[in-house]
Point group: C2
Chain length 160, copies 2
DNA sequence: TATCAATACTTGTCATGTCAAGTATTTTTC
DNA sequence: GAAAAATACTTGACATGACAAGTATTGATA
């Protein structure tokens, strides 16, 4: 079976341009990969977003304000409030009002969450290996370079 | 300003592996790009999913069963039902029961939708140029190749 | 120092995705 | 030819994103 995107999505005509083909390949690859991770996280009662929040909190090693979490995810602030709500209900994080600035809410990861993350670490690493293990080091390096280059104008230009 | 992902998301430590770095770059690039398209489509009263459905219907040139549309999108069937509901409410598509097999519902694009798509065609092309215009032809070719290669095991192995 | 702007969230509404169940309509099978 | 299985959706419950608007608190300014 061919893995060409044109066949994959039953596109009748060839792509209008290389740019369209690249964008659709990016979209499709991301979706397929994300689905794999979503299934993995689900086994542990987590969604991808929840996993990301917990990873950020664990990586930081100390409680973080909601805004800080929102900054590091792609997401808008309101989405974070809901995410934290559900994580708190599941006892994966706790909220704590900051005393110096009472507008700020600190989010703290619980030991329970740390323990779940620890269980997930190996499977995540294995999944990454499964998804990208067949690319050589230099191919990975080139892929990273091209993706970074692709983002450059978006990051440089605040207009965007 | 550096466009390195590590700085972008304020990651304290370097990546565990090249594979992780590649996956996060894929995720981030896709999100940034998708956001651009979402904003564009919104100007015309469409979401990205709705735009995709309409593109599929226009590309096909004739009505398609819901299942067929679901197949070509990544999505599960229930999501399509809701999508079609809203597109129908917005008068962008019509539903028609198949006479031979009354379980099947054909979805047909309206002239109104065709006209909106026509308006969007040029801005979409311009956005693609804006996002990827700074990559050379050979860089685009290489990016496409690497993304296709990345997906290969997922497509070949039904286990996945 | 009184007010106005900025900051950090929270809430509400809507679109989309997921899964589990349910309905209607063939198709298969015994 | 009737019951069972398959097919094509639809519906309902819930998580997640997006945007707009609201609240509480703090900072800046006149």
């Amino acid at each position: 079976m061919s893995h060409k995107l044109q066949h994959e999505i039953k596109k009748k005509r060839p792509f209008d341009s290389q740019q369209e083909e690249a964008l659709l390949n990016l979209l499709r690859t991301n979706e397929l990969f994300q689905n794999q991770f979503i299934r993995l996280f689900r086994k542990y009662g987590l969604t991808a977003s929840q996993y990301n929040v917990l990873r950020i909190l664990r990586g930081e090693g100390k409680p973080l304000p909601s805004l800080e979490i929102a900054d590091r995810m792609i997401h808008v602030v309101p989405a974070i409030t809901g995410l934290i709500d559900r994580l708190e209900k599941a006892r994966f994080v706790k909220r704590r009002r900051c005393e110096e600035d009472r507008r700020v809410v600190y989010v703290e990861i619980t030991d329970e969450a740390i323990s779940v993350l620890k269980q997930i670490d190996r499977p995540v690493k294995q999944l990454r290996e499964k998804l990208l293990g067949h690319l050589t080091r230099s191919e990975l390096r080139e892929l990273i370079r091209l993706l970074e280059k692709a983002r450059t104008p978006l990051l440089a230009d605040p207009e965007f």
